[in-house]
């Protein structure tokens, strides 16, 4: 599904070159739950942005379902982000003046799905995160945990092949964090590929596999041998 080979990203900041990623290589198969872990400044966010087509590498190769990022136009990248990828952000990034329904509807605007067809997608996505009764509540009136669940519903509404979660529990209390990780765990069990970016090893161990990034390079890429963490363990 994802094939990364000698990926490089260099930023040119007023003539000064900053290397964010160098020689990064790995592959991810459909249905995997992968954590990308590293300290602040390690390049994990840069890697996430490239994997999710929000940015382009300056060297190496990245192929998504055998399509190389270099062969795709910005518009084609946007279409793939819309139809095949879902995003969960640390800061939720909901539009607080819109209802839950309207927030989850946003990706459907850009997929050109007829308004009459949208309700069933939205209701299914919101029900799958346990918020069916909050469908017409303004997002600004929800708790942090509920907001993140709405964000997951928005990520799911297009039935994407892969979900990218960037520090999804970073702004949540333990209980809410547990709920969110539980949902991601269930989604993975239902066949969704999950890529989780975190700086916490504890959270990373919820995945099947951990890729550690340090100073822009892959330090290790290991399967989690012990039974992976469950949501209950998030309280610890």
């Amino acid at each position: 599904m994802i094939e990364v080979k000698n990926l490089e990203k260099t930023y040119d900041d007023d003539g000064t070159a900053t290397v964010a990623l160098q020689g990064v290589s790995f592959s991810i198969d459909k249905g995997e739950f992968v954590s990308i872990v590293g300290p602040s400044g390690s390049g994990k966010s840069t890697l996430l942005h490239i994997l999710s087509f929000l940015d382009r590498p300056t060297g190496g190769r990245y192929a998504f379902f055998d399509k190389s990022i270099d062969e795709l136009t910005d518009k084609q990248l946007a279409v793939i982000r819309n139809k095949q990828m879902g995003f969960v952000f640390q800061a939720f990034n909901l539009l607080s003046r819109l209802t839950v329904y309207e927030n989850v509807e946003i990706p459907l605007f850009y997929a050109n799905i007829a308004p009459s067809q949208r309700a069933k997608h939205i209701e299914h996505a919101v029900a799958s995160v346990g918020l069916a009764e909050k469908l017409y509540v303004e997002a600004g009136k929800l708790s942090g945990g509920q907001k993140q669940r709405v964000a997951i519903a928005r990520a799911l509404v297009m039935s994407p092949d892969i979900i990218f979660a960037d520090e999804p529990t970073g702004n949540l209390d333990s209980q809410s964090g547990a709920q969110v990780m539980g949902i991601l765990d269930d989604l993975n069990k239902n066949g969704h590929t999950i890529i989780l970016v975190t700086h916490e090893t504890y959270t990373a161990e919820f995945a099947d596999r951990i890729i550690r990034i340090k100073d822009g390079r892959v330090e290790s890429d290991e399967k989690v041998h012990k039974p992976r963490r469950t949501a209950k363990e998030f309280f610890k």
Partner: protein, 415 residues
């Protein structure tokens, strides 16, 4: 992104900041309302002025002393203080014999004090013939107009306007049969005109005093020429033909062999209506153009607020791009918001303009008692709608492009 979805998004944004949206569109509201009011009032003013000219009489042709200069119209000789004596009785007699002309009415005028007892008023008096009354649509409400015989006999009779009658005689005395002094000459009042209002030349027609032309020429002005001649065209003839016949007759009488040497000017009512119509139209458009400057100011205000909105919604832009919005989708969204503000502002401006136009019509027609028509030109409405939407497009495109160019990663990090 579907049009309906960008409309839905724009509406949500509009409703979210109603006060801000209203203040933003205020420039457009004022600009559109101003343009509507000026165009409507200009149209009504044009109707009033043209109505005044049409009310003079039908099929009228004006013969004025003094020629045009190689086709360029010159203001009448009298208004330039020049006395031109080219129109005389022989011309009136020749024109009266023309089958294409129903009536020929010569006119002289002057100013004098009208006196009765202790009351007096400075008035414009006009010396004319009996045909003046039907040709110029002057109705005698009391008494009768003077006759052709009065003119031939140099009788000292006068028909006065309703305001003049009221000033000299008051409400209780019947003016008919009474004698008044006009320029120290005594005249017997034979008729009082019905109310006419202000004429096309700005003269108050209710203060007029009409006397036989022979008396005015010989005993009051000491002249043998006329200040103006009216000709009423026979309806059986084309007005252009009648005009050319008048020119031919007068050129023959005056020994003129080339038209650009004419010492007279012949204008049909249509010519005058056309000139006046052009003048009022140009004035109206000019004023509307001045008013539309406020639309530019309003548009700049909208661009400013949209730029602020783009900055405030940077994270939203980043979110939308991350879930699949293209640059075109973002441009469409912000442009739709800009057009919505100006379009709604335009509609409010049209409504405000309609209220002002209606109020102006009520005040002018009912309180000032001027025959003012209510005009609300649909062209102005369509123009207003088009201009307001166009303003939104023109002044919204820059902020929309700025929004579209935002890097989604930086936008998502924006605080």
């Amino acid at each position: 992104m579907r049009f309906r979805d960008s409309l839905k998004t724009a509406t949500a944004s509009f409703k979210h900041g109603k006060m801000r949206s209203f203040l933003t569109m205020l420039g457009i509201v004022i600009g559109i309302a101003s343009v509507i009011v000026l165009m409507a009032v200009g149209q009504s003013a044009q109707d009033y002025i043209l109505g005044q000219v049409q009310g003079i009489g039908s099929n009228l042709i004006f013969i004025i002393p003094g020629g045009t200069n190689n086709g360029r119209f010159q203001s009448p000789a009298q208004s330039q203080g020049i006395v031109i004596t080219s129109l005389v009785q022989n011309d009136v007699d020749s024109l009266s014999r023309e089958p294409s002309i129903s009536a020929v009415v010569p006119l002289v005028s002057g100013q004098a004090d009208a006196v009765y007892g202790d009351n007096d008023l400075t008035v414009t008096y006009q010396g004319t013939t009996a045909d003046f009354f039907p040709v110029r649509n002057f109705v005698v409400a009391k008494g009768y107009p003077f006759t052709a015989n009065d003119v031939i006999s140099d009788n000292h009779v006068v028909v006065i306007g309703s305001d003049l009658a009221n000033t000299l005689f008051g409400p209780n005395i019947n003016p008919i049969g009474k004698n008044i002094l006009l320029k120290t000459t005594s005249f017997r009042v034979v008729g009082v005109l019905g109310p006419k209002g202000t004429g096309p030349g700005g003269v108050n027609q209710d203060d007029l005093a009409l006397v036989p032309v022979t008396v005015a020429q010989n005993q009051m002005l000491g002249i043998t020429y006329f200040n103006m001649v009216f000709a009423s065209a026979n309806p059986a003839y084309d007005i252009s033909f009648v005009k050319s016949r008048i020119q031919s007759v007068l050129e023959r009488n005056h020994g003129i062999t080339t038209s650009n040497k004419d010492d007279f000017t012949v204008e049909t009512q249509q010519d005058i209506l056309s000139i006046l119509g052009s003048i009022t139209s140009v004035l109206t458009l000019f004023l509307a153009a001045i008013a539309s400057i406020s639309l530019v100011v309003g548009g700049v205000g909208i661009m400013n607020i949209m730029l602020v909105s783009v900055i405030e919604r940077t994270r939203e832009i980043g979110l939308r791009k991350s879930v699949g919005a293209t640059e075109g989708d973002i441009v469409q969204q912000f442009l739709m918001e800009s057009v919505m503000i100006t379009f709604v502002g335009g509609l409010i401006g049209i409504a405000a303009g309609a209220i002002v136009v209606t109020a102006a019509w009520f005040i002018i027609s009912h309180i000032l008692a001027i025959a003012w028509t209510f005009e609300f030109p649909l062209t102005a409405v369509f123009l207003a709608v088009g201009v307001s939407a166009g303003t939104g497009l023109v002044f919204g495109i820059y902020p929309a492009r700025q929004a579209a160019k935002k890097n989604p990663i930086e936008a998502l990090r924006y605080e």
